[in-house]
């Protein structure tokens, strides 16, 4: 595939106290400020995908025999744990 190349935006052309702009996206992800994280009990998970359906940030990732979470983007809302029909997900405090 041909790589697209753009002329870089010249930040020097704009006063740095004008409109808030950035040439790269803010690297901060929801996982940086999460207070609870989901833990899957692999023995209980039947891969029904209810957690995958409900996750608002779509951080559920598929493994061979269970579903897991991408903790970079998981914001710790706990919807997956509430909705799991098998009670296979528990929320634990970060740093605990």
């Amino acid at each position: 595939m041909k790589r697209q190349s753009y002329e870089a935006f010249d930040q020097a052309a704009v006063p740095n106290d004008l409109c808030p702009i950035a040439t790269k996206l803010n690297p901060m992800l929801p996982g940086d400020w999460r207070s609870m994280r989901p833990i899957v009990n692999r023995a209980k998970c039947v891969k029904c995908a209810v957690c995958w359906l409900y996750c608002p940030v779509q951080c559920v990732v598929e493994r061979p025999a269970w579903f897991d979470f991408d903790l970079r983007t998981c914001k710790g809302c706990g919807i997956c744990a509430t909705e799991c029909p098998q009670r296979a997900i528990v929320m634990v405090a970060e740093g605990a």
Partner: protein, 407 residues
């Protein structure tokens, strides 16, 4: 010698809402998004007609509410379009979230507020409570006195908003009922002259939705740590600087308008019969006509009264107001809205703030009138003048006077 009356000058009779629509047509606006609301509706109906008739080439977006109106204009502005909308009252309230965001993104959007009093009790009538309620959000606010001033100021607003030292949205406010539906003879400026006045469009030089210049617009700041807070302060101070720069830009733009079109409107404040005045009254918007008549009559009777009309309310021309009041012994400030919590008018509150610039204490009183469509007549202003004259003698101000209380 420059000819003031251009050969292509046309005169028409129209109300303030139609005058604003003519101004939008003359300013070659690219994108209009609107939602109708009393007393603004005929303004956007006129605009829709101009567009349907092919008089304006702008695109009109009929959206489902005012929140979307301003969001559409954000996108259009970032794509380089000159944009316009109009709203008031509950519509302005529904617009509040993108309204807050507009000045920080430094988008030079022009919006008319056809001022309307706010609920409750239910009212669809004039009053400046809606515009006054959003005075400290970061938009520039200019209040018009006449139908001609509505037309001229709406065009001038683009030149102010798009000035590189300003880059801020502008509200051009005209009184609901009194200016929105009051008809007068107005002069339509020559189109070539308006185009020359506004110059070349370059709206999104600073922030753009443009694949050739990839950038993240309005990114999340870094919270409590890192570079976030200091970056936030930098942008806030930049916004304050833009607003303060607007004071001189507004003066320059009004001066150039006068040179080109022969009509010199007072840019920040107008001093009316202030020479030798012992005391002054202050007005804003269309009430000023009746107030000037009352001042003329009082002067004929020998009263030494003058008048200061505020046109630019944000940024507040504090130095100009203080300088104008430097030689008087008292001031009576007439507002068409209420500053809840201070129990007085907002312009009164700003005026006593500005008076701190003076080394002495100047007795001042707040008068509130014209709420919910009430008329402010010459008789009302005679009472204001009489009470302010007494204030100049005894320097004993009283609580806010509600002018229509006994009407």
């Amino acid at each position: 010698m420059s000819a003031v009356l251009k050969p292509k000058t046309k005169f028409i009779v129209c109300d303030g809402n139609e005058a604003a629509a003519w101004a939008v047509a003359a300013a070659h606006v690219d994108m209009v998004a609107v939602y109708p609301i009393t007393p603004q509706s005929s303004l956007v109906e006129n605009l829709a007609k101009f567009i349907a008739d092919g008089r304006i080439t702008a695109e009109l977006v009929d959206v489902e509410g005012e929140h979307s109106v301003l969001s559409v204009l954000h996108g259009a502005c970032l794509a380089g379009a000159r944009t316009y909308t109009a709203s008031c009252g509950p519509g302005l309230a529904f617009m509040f979230e993108p309204y807050l965001r507009t000045p920080g993104m430094r988008l030079p959007i022009v919006m008319s507020i056809v001022t309307r009093d706010t609920l409750s009790p239910q009212t669809v009538w004039g009053g400046q409570q809606d515009a006054m309620s959003v005075r400290d959000v970061g938009w520039i606010h200019m209040y018009c006195e006449s139908v001609q001033e509505v037309l001229d100021t709406t065009i001038m607003a683009y030149k102010v908003a798009e000035h590189r030292d300003v880059m801020l949205p502008v509200n051009v406010n005209h009184d609901g009922n009194y200016l929105s539906f009051g008809a007068a003879r107005v002069e339509l400026p020559d189109q070539h002259e308006v185009s020359a006045f506004l110059g070349e469009k370059n709206i999104n030089w600073h922030a753009a939705l443009d694949p050739q210049r990839p950038m993240a617009v309005d990114p999340l700041t870094g919270g409590a740590g890192g570079a976030g807070p200091s970056m936030f302060v930098r942008y806030r101070k930049g916004q304050c600087r833009g607003l303060q720069n607007a004071l001189s830009v507004i003066e320059d733009v009004h001066e150039e308008w006068g040179r080109r079109f022969g009509r010199y409107h007072a840019p920040l404040i107008e001093r009316y019969r202030m020479d030798g005045a012992d005391y002054a009254i202050m007005t804003i918007g269309s009430m000023t006509g009746a107030a000037k008549d009352a001042v003329d009559a009082a002067r004929d009777r020998g009263a030494r009264v003058g008048l200061i009309k505020v046109k630019t309310f944000r940024p507040f021309p504090a130095r100009a107001v203080a300088a104008a009041l430097d030689n008087v012994q008292a001031v009576g400030v007439v507002d068409r809205s209420v500053s809840f919590g201070w129990n007085c008018g907002p312009m009164f509150q700003d005026t006593i703030g500005a008076l701190n610039i003076l080394p002495r204490r100047l007795p001042a009183m707040s008068f509130i009138g014209g709420l919910a469509g009430a008329d402010l007549t010459v008789e009302h202003f005679e009472r204001v003048i009489e009470r302010t004259a007494r204030l100049a003698r005894d320097a004993t101000p009283e609580a806010t006077v509600w002018l229509n209380e006994a009407d």
